[in-house]
Symmetry: C2
Subunit: 213 residues, 2 copies
Amino acid sequence: MKTKESKIPEATIKRLSTYINCLERLQAENNPVTSSEMLGESCQVSPAQIRKDLSYFGEFGVRGVGYDTKKLEGEIKEILGLNHNWPTTVVGVGKLGQALLNFAFFSKHGFRIIAAFDSDENKIGNEIAHGVTILPTTEIEKTVKNEKITIGIITTPADSAQEVADKLVAGGIKGLLNFAPIKVKVPEIITLRNVSITSELDNLAYLLTQKKR
Amino acid sequence: MKTKESKIPEATIKRLSTYINCLERLQAENNPVTSSEMLGESCQVSPAQIRKDLSYFGEFGVRGVGYDTKKLEGEIKEILGLNHNWPTTVVGVGKLGQALLNFAFFSKHGFRIIAAFDSDENKIGNEIAHGVTILPTTEIEKTVKNEKITIGIITTPADSAQEVADKLVAGGIKGLLNFAPIKVKVPEIITLRNVSITSELDNLAYLLTQKKR
DNA sequence: TGGTGTGAACAACTTCACAGCG
DNA sequence: CGCTGTGAAGTTGTTCACACCA
């Protein structure tokens, strides 16, 4: 992979992730080859945008022909680093945490669930998918350290999110994905993404309000 | 509200939603008044950005003083249209659907859950929060029509998402929020947002991969 | 011929810097 | 005096249009 050293837009990275989905679907629909036109149709992105996005990382297509769907999927996974093995943990095994743990997505994208934590006595010891049992949050620091867990997913309520983040950081976590509706604060070296599911709904309300006018 | 008629950046709308959260927290921490500096600190947005965002919609602050936290929260809710009443339905009462239904968020932001649907025989008839029982998906069109439901949230697996979307549209839905990992297609008039939870994880993997280099 | 890859034009968004006002 | 509100400058991201090549 020859990464060209111009800075890559954050938006491009976001789209790469959706391209993977669409390429999988195109393969399932028996398209060994696709074009920026067809792929764009499939994931609702302009063909020019797709070509530009890919051009940041190299040349993956054949002029006059298009892209090999399977090969391109592999290339994008390589770019995103999904061919690595990412030891991952989920803290907060409520409905949202369980929803995430259920996804086939994890293993397909290289995220290996090593541990899950909850503060609820009744949940501790329960076995979740992948033969992992739920541990008390007091074990976070030790486990992250011992198992060399690099990614932490926070799906706790807002009021314990910061505390949990601190414990994960103390254990030596590298990246955090926070679903709690509060922006947690961590040292500079930690890669952090705060996700707000509900803001999408607010967004929808706004768009609908505009239309009424 | 005096909406100035320059076009408002989509990113601005996204941030307004987070400002609400932060303003609530600031109030809880006994700050009747805040500044763009303090609010920015609280939600990790630059002060200039906050002032610019608000300036699209009017003048909400007092020079030399700052913003009334409670009043500003109300203003933003008004801007986003969260003071309306949005009859809402959730289709697909799996873990993710249940996670959403549990949120206190809904009622606070004007979304009233009117109905929930699932195709699983065993779930049908079960009562979920708010005294709403789960109905079979065959009832979608009729119910949306009769109850004048305007917002539909799709939390089904990928392979039934399009079918469900079609039924909601047939019933006369106005806006759709799709969490299924496939971009559904609907007529132009429908306001649609596709949300990809998992792409955030891919994003995190990418950022961590970069750091290793 | 037909679809990629890409510089150059364009558009969107953010930051700056300071005037204006309580 | 201090903090907002805002044009203007700067930055980032998208679209265009066409050279290029299997």
